[in-house]
Amino acid sequence: MKSTPLLFLNVIIIATCGLIYELLAATVSSYVLGDSVTQFSLIIGVYLFAMGVGSYLSRFIETGLAERFVDIELAVAVLGGVSAPLLFLSFAYISYFGIVLYTTVFLVGVLVGLEIPLLMRILKDKLDFKELVSRVLALDYIGALVASMMFPLFLVPRLGLVRTSLVFGILNALVGIWATWLLEPLIARNKLTALRVKGFVVIVLLAIGLIKADSLTTLAEDGLFVDNIIFARSSQYQRIVVTKGKLGYSLFLNGNLQFNSFDEYRYHEALVHPAFAAFEGTPRRVLVLGGGDGLAVREILKYPSVEFVQLVDLDPEMTRIAYTVPALGELNHRSFDDPRVHVTNADAFVWLDKERPEPFDIAIVDFPDPNNFALGKLYTTRFYNLLKNVLSPSSAVVIQTTSPLIARRSFWCVMRTLEAAGFTVRPYQTTVPSFGIWGYALARLEPFDPPRHPPQGVELRFLNDQTFASLFEFPADTTQPDGEIEVNRLDNQALVRYYESEWRRFEQ
């Protein structure tokens, strides 16, 4: 067979394709699931095992080797070619991502495992065994080297994962079609055309995918992130994602940014210290509602007088990763390891309704913005009345209250709601570059003047005497707007409606 050298070229190509699919699966899974060591190691293991299964299964193919080989090439082309878009889409739209991932990896592995044994059997009459093994395997490993060099240096940066996947699918299908010429003498006449038509159809389909790759990527990456994902998990309550980028680590809950490590100290210093400054006396007992990332607690623990911190956060997964994800643990100074800190996982509304702890000196209320009714209830007069049950007359409370610039009515709705619940309220705001202009409410049950200076003897990076005094000044575009603003109550949830209408303006 004069075409033998060309068949060896095929070996390089299919070896390259095989390794590319493996790298794609491992990259996609570490991209969306995080923990790349685990992902790569599991994917490589499953893939190699599946190749072994494929090699074993090759013994059951007795006749029509050449036809089967072409079929397998086309099958790899389809499955491997669509693997990256398939995995992205299934991650975005279905919950059993793991099943899809490992099934895909296993099937591609089995098919790729079939390729080389079949090819060697096709070639066995042309070469002696020694020659055959050395050449095929050498080329196989060369293909692997080509793939592993091209993938990070050229394919991912230039083509992206989805296009790479489709391009190599097409390449694989071309190998299949080409083989119908190279192996023409070995294929029954009547099957030849059918195989070529099949091959052609596969190429057309993958090519369409390639043309549509952009919209496919948009669809799949909807809700995905610019930076590298180092942790991602769906808990019972929300999707938690931690990314790492040039500016540092970011935490997202359901796609909403909670902090960026580059400027979170601004947010958390402004959240915690004004309440301590407003409290007259020695703060000993502190309540934190929300704040499962442990960053507010880090600030609280700067006060040596604090004896007891009770944190109530809905999501056990969130408070768990605040210990276990190293980047978060470092950032919060492992605040949850401090013996003074007690973590309870509960819905703060339900917790306040049930529990009757001793009064707290300071309460830090740090919930996600009220973008749904389940969160909206945490900003109602009912909630603030329940909060009063765990306060003493001298306690100081602070509440994060979204952006007074972007959601001006929402911000002032919270102020009015606190007043309706009997609090004296001192609104304040600051700038957190990751968020924009951000607002808070400082509140007490007794009348009080806004504090003028940050507490003494606490090490701060952002707050000083100048910034502290300016916190309580509101630029003209963030002051209370004209017109009636409703009080947020359980039976009207006015805040959720304000918030939705105000933030909707910023969505596309």
């Binding site: 019972q236 309550y237 809905l314 819905d347 509304f349 339900v350 309704d353 749904n372 009714f373 389940a374 909206g376 209830k377 109602t380 007069t381 009912r382 009345n385 109550r489 359980l490 039976d491 009207n492 949830q493 959720v496």
Partner: protein
């Protein structure tokens, strides 16, 4: 009569559901049982047997209350408030509460029937006294209207409706409504506003709670002669959504379709809880167990005056009062009393009150009831929304195309938004004339199947989430205010005592509402003092 699953689903949910019979046969099916009401107990009365009471099984009391629903419990409560101590309340079932019953459970209690009370107007002083006593009230506003504590007022989001695969906010289906639909809806609101502001020569409202204070002016009572659906057509309404909305309203409050309920009660539903045009209708007082919270309050106040599992078989009027004979675990007991408050359904009076048939001032058979079944589904978690933008789980969740009324979420009012919950599903048997017999043709498995199949159109995961489904069949759930009933004159006749027996059931209003039962219960209590 054995019917196939296909026939069962077609009968309860409509023909398209027959197809579900083949699709979903192999699903996991939760446990559960028929609970509560025992039809056999009450039906003893139909036999008309007489019972001998042994001489040492007699006792005396000042007042005997027959029936422990809201009317009877309100009587007992009012008597206690007025210092009448020597009272017995006899209830047929094992627990009091009638259609306001509830059960305790995890994570919260849940209702078996009525689950809300609209905040009363300031004029309804008796009812306000109750709410004050229960500490549900925060205060009064400048006009003297009641301010109920926030935690008892139905939490937003209150209602949503499922239509063609998606949930939408509210009960009136705005999604996909055309200009003509919206015009008719606005016109309907305008007519409602007109009736809200309407006053007769004596300054009485057309529709107000309690119903006894409604104007008897012919202009209003004429509305009682036609069905609500006919009245809508007479006004020129054609919008399917508007008809659905009105039909939902009458099924919800009266267990009747708009074709079956009178126009007067249809408008009563929309007008009686609106203070004046342009303001929202009165907010709802609710809690996980629904109106079970009132039952519990009455029960704790009445204490050992309540005797459950007592079948009152006969009341014999005497010169000094009446002798009440009841079966207590098979033993006949007698209570000699001065007055009886009869707070059982009116249609039972001829079977129980001796001599009533011979000199009846009214025909008790005219008090006709309709049948319901109520299912409580215990879920391990909330049904998953199919679309990110779907309107979220609300207190009241209604399926547009369903003959059921949908379900209420027990955990909603407590702010428990995650994890296990209990859903209470309501199905009025008003789609055929023989609803009651149809209801008792079917056991737990059939009715649970209907409920799950119905809900599965909105929640595909309902089978996986439901661990248990218990069902209560209400053979005589509610009085049926069909055209010509409320203003036929029968209410005026029946509200008068028969010998020393004072009637108190909500039947006397012609509508089965908590406020009406409470009104007649307290009225009868005043009469016997």
């Amino acid at each position: 009569m054995r019917i196939t699953r296909r026939e069962l689903l077609a009968m309860f949910l409509g023909v398209p559901f027959a197809a579900a019979a083949c699709r979903e046969r192999e699903r996991p099916f939760p446990d559960g049982e028929i609970v509560g009401q025992s039809a056999a107990l009450g039906h003893i009365l139909r036999e008309g047997r007489s019972f001998e009471v042994a001489s040492d099984n007699w006792e005396t009391a000042k007042v005997v209350i027959v029936g422990g629903g809201i009317a009877g419990l309100s009587s007992a409560w009012q008597l206690k408030r007025r210092g009448v101590e020597d009272v017995r309340l006899l209830e047929l079932e094992r627990q009091v509460g009638g259609t306001s019953q509830s059960s305790n459970g995890e994570p919260v209690a849940y209702p078996w029937g009525a689950h809300y009370l609209p905040v009363p107007f300031r004029e309804n002083t008796d009812l306000i006294e109750l709410l004050d006593e229960m500490s549900l009230v925060e205060g009064r506003d400048a006009q003297g209207e009641l301010i109920v504590k926030e935690q008892y007022l139905c939490r937003e989001p209150e209602e949503r409706v499922f239509y063609k695969g998606r949930w939408y906010e509210g009960l009136y289906l705005r999604a996909g409504a055309g200009d003509e639909d919206l015009r008719q809806f606005a016109e309907f609101q305008r007519i409602i506003d007109g009736w809200v502001n309407w006053r007769d020569a004596a300054g009485r409202r057309a529709f107000v709670v309690p119903l006894a204070n409604c104007s008897a002016d012919a202009e209003v009572t004429a509305l009682d002669k036609v069905s609500f659906a006919d009245w809508l057509r007479q006004q020129g309404f054609t919008s399917e959504r508007l008809f659905w909305y009105c039909d939902y309203a009458t099924r919800d409050d009266y267990g009747l379709k708009a074709e079956q309920a009178s126009a007067w009660v249809g408008l009563f539903y929309f007008c009686s809880r609106v203070r004046k045009s342009g303001v929202e209708s009165q907010p709802f007082i609710t809690c996980p167990e629904g109106n079970g919270q009132f039952v519990e309050h009455f029960r704790s106040k009445a204490g050992d005056r309540i005797r459950a599992s007592q079948t009152v078989v006969s009341i014999i009027p005497t010169a000094a009062g009446a002798d009440v004979i009841c079966l207590d675990d098979g033993v006949a007991r007698g209570i000699r009393c001065e007055r009886v408050i009869y707070a059982a359904p009116m249609f039972t009076a001829p079977f129980v009150i001796r001599g009533f048939r011979d000199e009846a001032p009214f025909s008790a058979e005219e008090f006709q009831h309709n049948a319901w079944f109520v299912a409580n589904l215990h879920l391990t978690d909330r049904p998953r929304p199919r679309f990110a933008k779907d309107f979220p789980l609300s207190w009241d969740n209604v399926i547009y195309e369903s003959p059921s009324l949908g379900y209420v979420t027990a955990t909603h009012q407590k702010g428990i938004d995650y994890g296990p919950t209990t859903l209470t599903y309501y199905y009025p048997m008003c789609h055929e004339e023989n609803g009651r017999s149809k209801l008792f043709d079917h056991g737990w498995r059939d009715l649970a199947d209907v409920c799950l199949t119905d809900l599965s159109r909105a929640h595909r995961d309902i089978y996986e989430l439901t661990t248990r489904i218990d069902i209560m069949r209400w053979g005589h759930a509610m009085i049926s205010p069909r055209p010509g009933f409320i203003w036929s004159g029968i209410r005026e006749k029946a509200v008068k005592p028969f010998r020393n027996i004072h009637f108190a059931h909500t039947d006397l209003s012609g509508v089965a509402l908590f406020e009406e039962a409470f009104y007649h219960g307290t009225r009868a209590a005043r009469e016997v003092i």
